[in-house]
């Protein structure tokens, strides 16, 4: 897991930064495009508004000139209106339209809309309100200088707000205009009377007398567009962000999955290793078991041959010694007979040793069949057998009833046989012999014990007590091969128990054991 996985983590990180930069770039470009589009749209809207106003005004101009004027002239011709009568309020289309626009703006304001600036600007107007301002004046001159220019457009900023300003040539002087706009002297008297001065006079045919100067607000449209585009764009941004994070999460999941997979592989490998080690161990155990089984088998064969081959010659020695005594006894003196007797005794003892050794070997091999064993009953039986074997002896047996343990009945029988047999043997020279089999607690554990008040032993030799062929008494004192306690200890150990002895010379011995 080292540098390899670390680089695989940082790689997508760099990639994401790149993606983020690209997204930001795209965002910027799209935003710029949208802004441009919005501006076009707003410009177009303003243009349409302006056009609508202009067309309306044009319509009104036409109505005044084409409908109202003929009526007025015919009324004058019929003498119903004085030749002198002139009222711009009902005659001058410029006047009417200007005032109509004023009213229109008032209505807009009332409706919460911004005013649309509108002016029919002239260089030399009759009414000073129509006088062109600096820009308008410049435009009029430009339109006059170059008749090809049909309009002028400009976005202007007033008090931080954008407006579309449009100027169009409005009135081109024609022959019929000259009646009222030519030389002052030629104009109707009423008009002359109404407008003193030269305003509105002195025009020339073909000249552009006035322009329409109109300015519509764009700001209102922007708000709407900003909201629409802004929210759409925000939505897109959020979507892009979500996609980005989704991709990022996916990458993280992929990385994590990869790591987990590697972990799984690692773990599998470890498991495999453990399994192999286990297998190896099992194999080794099997091997050992086989070796042990083979060794046991060898031991069996050895014990078998000991039982056969060592005993057979002994029987020969004993048999022929006896044959010598029987057949040639009269030729031997007492000493020779004694020697032969010793030869025979040696044979018998060796036979016993071999038998005990075989028992020790047999009891230490083979499986332990655990079952509940009533040791008290067993001890009672053994005591009975011992009594029967030597009915002349007076020995008091005290056996605590109900001592039950889990163990191999045959092996435990051998334990009690040996311990009680020993107690029996070593109390042979004790008056009021007493042998006890009981149970006592020591350190929270149940200890069983066999106690006698017989010959006892020196505690200095307690350690040697359980060694095979170890004897603490001479054969003259007490018979025995010294294998019994070795057998007992081996059986107790095979049961997972412990055994120890306490004693004092002349005051008996106690064997404590657990199973």
């Amino acid at each position: 897991m080292g540098a390899e996985s670390r680089s695989s983590v940082s790689q997508p990180g760099r990639q994401y930064r790149k993606i983020a930069v690209v997204v930001l770039g795209v965002t910027f470009v799209v935003a710029a495009g949208l802004y441009h589009l919005a501006r076009l749209y707003v410009l177009n809207e303003a243009e349409r508004n302006i056009q609508a106003v202009l067309l309306t005004h044009k319509g009104l101009h036409r109505y005044i000139q084409e409908v109202m004027h003929p009526v007025f002239y015919s009324l004058r011709a019929e003498g119903m209106v004085s030749e002198k009568f002139y009222a711009p309020e009902i005659f001058s289309s410029t006047f009417i339209v200007r005032n109509q626009h004023k009213a229109y703006n008032e209505e807009r304001t009332a409706a919460g809309l911004e005013e649309i600036y509108y002016k029919m600007a002239a260089l030399n107007p009759r009414n000073p309100v129509n006088k062109a301002d600096a820009l308008e004046e410049k435009l009029i001159r430009r339109f006059n200088d170059n008749k090809e220019i049909k309009d002028y457009r400009e976005v202007v900023r007033i008090n931080g707000k954008d407006y579309l300003y449009v100027a169009l040539p409005f009135l081109v002087n024609q022959e019929r205009c000259m009646k009222c706009h030519g030389d002052r002297e030629d104009a109707p008297l009423g008009l002359q009377a109404l407008y003193p001065g030269l305003g509105g006079f002195g025009e020339k045919v073909g000249d552009i007398r006035a322009i329409e100067s109109i300015r519509a607000p764009m700001e209102q449209q922007y708000y709407l567009l900003y909201i629409v585009f802004g929210s759409s764009f925000a939505g897109l941004l959020v979507l892009a962000g979500l996609l980005f994070f989704n991709a990022r999460l996916r990458e993280m999941v992929r990385t994590r999955t990869h790591e987990l997979e590697q972990e799984v592989v690692e773990r599998r490998r470890a498991e495999e290793e453990v399994r192999q080690v286990n297998e190896e161990l099992e194999n080794r155990v099997e091997e050992r078991t086989a070796q042990i089984a083979a060794a046991n088998k060898e031991l069996d064969a050895f014990a078998y041959s000991v039982s056969h081959d060592l005993r057979a010659p002994l029987r020969g020695i004993d048999g022929f010694s006896l044959a010598l005594l029987e057949d040639y006894g009269e030729r031997f003196d007492e000493k020779a007979k004694d020697y032969l007797g010793r030869v025979r005794a040696g044979c018998l003892r060796m036979g016993e040793l071999i038998d005990d050794m075989l028992q020790l070997s047999r009891l230490s091999r083979g499986e332990i069949h655990r079952e509940e064993v009533d040791l008290s009953t067993m001890a009672g039986e053994i005591a009975e057998e011992l009594r029967r074997g030597a009915p002349q002896r007076r020995v008091a047996f005290e056996i605590t009833p109900g001592i039950r343990v889990l163990g191999d009945a045959i092996l435990l029988r051998a334990v009690l046989d040996n311990l009680l047999g020993n107690a029996w043997k070593f109390t042979a020279k004790t008056e009021e012999a007493r042998i006890t089999f009981g149970r006592q607690e020591e350190g929270g554990k149940d200890l069983l014990f066999v106690r006698d008040n017989g010959a006892g032993f020196d505690m200095a030799y307690a350690g040697k007590l359980f060694g095979a062929f170890q004897r603490l008494h001479s054969l003259q004192e007490f018979a025995g091969t010294g294998i019994g306690l070795a057998t007992v200890q081996r059986i107790i150990h095979r049961h997972g128990g412990t055994i120890r002895a306490e004693g004092e010379v002349g005051h008996g011995a106690t064997f404590y054991f657990s199973v």
């Binding site: 078998y304 056969h308 029987r315 004993d318 048999g319 010694s321 006896l322 044959a323 044979c347 036979g351």
Partner: protein, 148 residues
């Protein structure tokens, strides 16, 4: 009437001598045929090999069979005796030094009539032989001879 005969299968000359001595000591004067290994024992029983042409109508009253034998061991001899139509009913006493559970189990499983462990003490051994003689030669009624 011919005397009853004993077949002693024993490879150890000491044991052979002691057995014969014990028989004599106990006044068992019947004929004792000694086979020194399993092959010889089977030859005698079947009238083959060294015993070819033997009168097979005459069979031992009891076979005293040791287990540890050269060539064919006692248990195999027992198995073959029990497998042979002519000899399958013959009383076989396993007379061995062994005290192994396995030997006892196998012997009885293969159809031994008795299992006696030779004691080291000759007096005890002699006593055992005496009992054997009395039981198998006097008390026991032998199976009818099977003629082929």
């Amino acid at each position: 009437m011919r005397t009853k005969m004993i077949l002693l299968v024993e490879d150890n000359p000491d044991d052979e001598a002691l057995t014969l001595r014990a028989l004599k000591k106990n006044n068992i004067l019947n004929e004792v045929v000694v086979a020194r290994d399993g092959v010889e024992a089977l030859d005698f029983l079947c009238g083959t090999g060294a015993h070819a042409g033997r009168d097979l109508a005459r069979m031992p009253e009891v076979i005293l069979l040791d287990i540890n034998l050269p060539r064919i061991n006692g248990l195999e001899v027992l198995e073959k005796i029990r497998a042979n139509e002519r000899t399958r009913l013959l009383p076989v006493v396993i007379l061995t030094t062994s005290n192994e559970e396995q030997d006892k189990l196998k012997s009885y499983t293969l159809g031994a009539n008795s299992f006696i462990r030779k004691p080291v003490d000759f007096q005890q051994f002699s006593e055992a032989i005496r009992h054997l003689g009395i039981y198998w030669l006097l008390l026991n009624q032998s199976p009818p001879v099977i003629r082929s």
